[in-house]
């Protein structure tokens, strides 16, 4: 399953990719952004940072048993700090289809096009 985030900034593309990751599991519109969680990660380049970011999100979903629907990413060099907002999984309301095992390096790309739009994408294992 592939996830792709597109946005006017790198941060926005990372946020959209996280939203796409949630959509692999459930409809993000059904997830109430009530509770905030902060994550940090760093990596040698943008692409590894995207994988680390998505894996941080997978980890928070798995260990807190939560789903997230709002993301705020702050980047500096190859460091990321982000706030995620979400709620505990409710099987009846969220009907979560599948858990993501991890983000992979397949079709991994973080790039800006000529119009200045950023794309952040990779395949995730489910």
């Amino acid at each position: 399953m592939g996830v792709r985030g597109i946005g006017p900034t790198k941060e926005a593309a990372f946020e959209a990719a996280a939203m796409a990751l949630t959509a692999v599991t459930t409809d993000p519109q059904r997830v109430s952004p009530g509770e905030a969680v902060t994550v940090r990660c760093e990596a040698p380049d943008d692409e590894l940072l995207l994988v680390d970011w998505l894996n941080a999100l997978v980890y928070e979903m798995a260990t807190r048993r939560m789903l997230f629907s709002r993301f705020e990413v702050r980047l500096s060099d190859h460091r990321l700090e982000a706030t995620l907002w979400g709620e505990p999984v409710d099987p009846a309301r969220h009907s979560p289809a599948v858990e993501v095992k991890g983000a992979t390096y397949t079709s991994l790309a973080v790039a800006q096009d000529r119009q200045g739009l950023w794309t952040a994408q990779c395949v995730v294992d489910v």
Partner: protein, 476 residues
Amino acid sequence: MDLNLLTRRSACEWQIRPFGAMRVPGIIYGTEALVREMDDKVYEQVTNVATLPGIVKASHAMPDAHWGYGFPIGGVAAFDPDQGGIISAGGVGFDISCGVRTLTTGLTTEQVEPVKERLADRLFHHVPAGVGSTGLLRLKAADMDAMLTGGARWAVRQGYGRTADLERTEEQGCIAGAVPAAVSERAKKRQQDEMGTLGSGNHYLEVQRVARLFNHEIAAAFGLREGDVVVSIHCGSRGLGHQIGTEFLKTMAVSAARYKIHVPDRELACAPIHSEVGQEYLGAMRAAMNCALANRQIITHLVRKAFAEVLPQADLNLLYDVSHNTCKIEDHVVDGNTMRVFVHRKGATRAFGPGHPDLPPPFRDIGQPVLIGGTMGTASYVLVGTREGMELAFGSACHGAGRNMSRHQALRQWQGRDVVKELGLRGIVIRSPSLRGVAEEAPGAYKDVSEVVQAADEAHLAGIVAQLEPMVCIKG
């Protein structure tokens, strides 16, 4: 896949002659139809694996091969540590030691059929399934390390199952050389509430009937008769394995330059077996393998509980437990010489033939059971390892059907409710916490598993013994 790129060696064996940086040939097993339908990426990935340091004999792809991460899913490759051979986290996969175990029940279809709805309810009640589900166990640090070292043996010591189960599990239920200290705290945290859970996606628990026997003699030795009811459990090392895979993929990608390993695809990230990173991954991966064995053992206990409530006369005995995402040290004969190699099986099942010393006494003279999972609407199969298979692909066979449609496509084509209804009309009872999950796993989204096992049989990787049809499916 373009067949013009391959040299046909027999009806079900196709070769990619070495070119460029390939150190060995690529070998793809499958009928003409299966190989033609394979994604071009399988060709690319088989070729890429053939470039890795220390690879022995060939880079293999099983009849169910499809596009994976670095290695194809359905990929088998062995590496010689003394020739710079590598170990690859991507070559094992995220769900380390994901596998299948099948239990006989001592019951006939006629006995189970009238109560299968209630049986489905009790199984769904006892075995936690789906996203966010937790097990009854909460592992503290010392228990976690004991589980990671002891595998299914640890689970049996805790009261989950019987000692007799261990003989019917690969490596007698415990992989030697696990190093819990090599497993990160994050991986352990991800697992602490997940013991005895099925997970989601393609993982399942099925009550099946033995629909057809292909080899009566071997079937009898496996304890399978037509009309018998069996139970199959498909799941793996849960969050712990996923986290180890995630972390070591990055560690290997970052350390590749240090070890002067240049790979054509970042996902092929690997480390020499004789290296700090390689040894650390081996220790962590073996711990994850033990986690998977313990997990399936606990689920077995829960399945027995559910059966006891509905069919107290049931006697659930383990036929065998096989893993299909592993790297194991094995002895194999290559060009007449016995070599100790590290065999990666990514979405491929070990299929040792008769006479192999690692097999338990019941299977030593006939070969090991090879358990191939289907979908909730199609057959699963029991095969047996062959002598020829030992020579072909390091004693390996296929592992399942493989998807032919993405989850997204499946979701556009089917409604979960309709899939449950349609299967119900065919006598198959489904229980799942997620109707969307059921739609994504619709039988039509998968390749025809019968064609895959037929090809494995024709290629002599393993021989077909029995066909199993689903009666009840608990879907994660």
